[in-house]
Symmetry: C2
Subunit: 344 residues, 2 copies
Amino acid sequence: QSLKIGLIPADGIGKEVIPAARTVLEALGSDIPKPEFIDLLAGWEVFTRSGSALPEETVETLRECDGALFGAVSSPSRSVTGYSSPIVALRKQLDLYANVRPVVSVAATPEEKPAVDLVVVRENTECLYVKQEVLTHTAQGKEARATRLITERASHRIGKMAFDIALGRPRKQVTIIHKSNVLSVTDGLFRETVRGVPAKYPGQYDSVKLEEQIVDSAVYRLIREPEIYDVMVAPNLYGDIISDAAAALVGSLGLVPSVNAGDKFVMGEPVHGSAPDIEGKGIANPIAAIRSAALMLRHLGYAQGADRIDVAVDQVIREGQVLTPDLGGSSSTNDVLNAVLKKM
Amino acid sequence: QSLKIGLIPADGIGKEVIPAARTVLEALGSDIPKPEFIDLLAGWEVFTRSGSALPEETVETLRECDGALFGAVSSPSRSVTGYSSPIVALRKQLDLYANVRPVVSVAATPEEKPAVDLVVVRENTECLYVKQEVLTHTAQGKEARATRLITERASHRIGKMAFDIALGRPRKQVTIIHKSNVLSVTDGLFRETVRGVPAKYPGQYDSVKLEEQIVDSAVYRLIREPEIYDVMVAPNLYGDIISDAAAALVGSLGLVPSVNAGDKFVMGEPVHGSAPDIEGKGIANPIAAIRSAALMLRHLGYAQGADRIDVAVDQVIREGQVLTPDLGGSSSTNDVLNAVLKKM
Ligand SMILES: CC(C)[C@H](C(=O)O)[C@@H](O)C(=O)O
Ligand SMILES: CC(C)[C@H](C(=O)O)[C@@H](O)C(=O)O
């Protein structure tokens, strides 16, 4: 038995951090079935060469994989006809409806409680990301309209995912993020549907505490008192913004992993982007990608392998000897990778 | 000659901070024309009594005022038929197309540069705030759709406002906030239109530096390195979230003022909400409301009066003797008001 894993480094530092994550997976040995890696293309670079940002072959091959790791995509500085983000398309085509982003700070000792310890559970297929946009020309100039779609079905399944994740955490608290004081219909539906999850599974979620916050004040309070949050569940765009805000609280985007999860497939993805400013310098922080690999394993049921990676990464961060520049150090991607491997 | 100012305390602590701002305006004496105040109703409380959150009379009276001060509105905890936020309606009905939110930290001495010194210039009439929402019932359950509207006309005038504000600041930098990597049509239009402002006024904005940021990473960088920003111009919803994030960096939402500005009318409004948790206790921070009054005066052309208020407020904060609980003190709304009055 082997573990088939698609690797899509895509653009920029994606090409530096995904190989590091691969090496860590290989180092796990018998903790997981032997991984078999398949290199796949997507992104801006392949678009400029082939005219497609997400080749059909990539999607088809992924359908036969157990999991995948995605790097990062570059965006052109002006909008380019025919180009659109392959990560958004992948999430939709593979129905990876949940974007799960744990944001955890590393405390000084393993016994201490981290200052920030939350999970953003972001709906991953709708909201403004349906990309239904139209442009019209009027006497007053151009007018553009985008549709924001919120369905009961997608809100329910992301809500259930949030409750399930909360059940497995000590605090067991879900906070719904919305803006129903303005968007009473769309965010109203999201809010009521998530609120309604426990009633559909009598008894199952009795231990979970339910809270809610309006998105603007949620971000304010996230910065001021991150400890009030445990699991934050949000429509797509709010989740996008909130997870970056949370990442800012733990020292660097270079530390924050995510998985795009569906019912049958899971794809790890560092929350950071392609970082054109440091691309090719060998100094990208590989930790977000390495942790995304661990998170992927966790969702596939290999908790032991995931733990081994996470414990090793925590040790490296805690010791503070081998850090990339985003964390104030001067080590390289490879230095950090080797430090993690040594701890495993 | 007198200055006609509508006062709309609305709900919660709005009723505690707006009277404080009024008292400060009265104390200005000959720095401004004699203010004449007109009390007006809006909000959740008047809705529960009269069925209207924004009585026609309020809007009509405001049309004859020089300026206004708005407090804060409470939201019902579930959506209530017929109720919708009066502040959103007021902005639209009076065409107050710019929400200008300066976020400035107070340095230890007047000579020192503040760590955070930026202005969020938020488009105030469209984006998802057009509140065009529809609910449909399908075999898979409910589906809700909202329209996000971005027009060239509104993007141009908010862009011009941002460039004008930048011209009056030492750094002279405008950063466009958008998400055109996903919303290529709507945010693409916003971005291109704002970018196009200088070309329409040859020579006028040559000294202004133009930058841009994708909204999620803009929030990340705002938290990590707020000093990179000067004037941030954003569509409505991003502006809403960004200004709360920025407020979190300067100690308290209770410090951050705003104006809703149109070509003919300006309405001051503290960025904070109605704060039901501290309502009626007399401990709400009046500084955001007092500063909103100063900002209103500045937009009406009374810089001298505005300066007197701001200098007094800065002194009170810098001394740190009289602070409300949100800033770690134990003073009351009235204590702070009196401290400000004494410095004037
Ligand atoms: C690159 C972009 C399309 C993407 C998103 O908005 O989802 C990114 O910001 C993310 O969070 O994964
Ligand atoms: C109360 C609410 C409708 C409002 C908004 O979203 O604009 C508030 O958050 C603000 O920032 O003034």
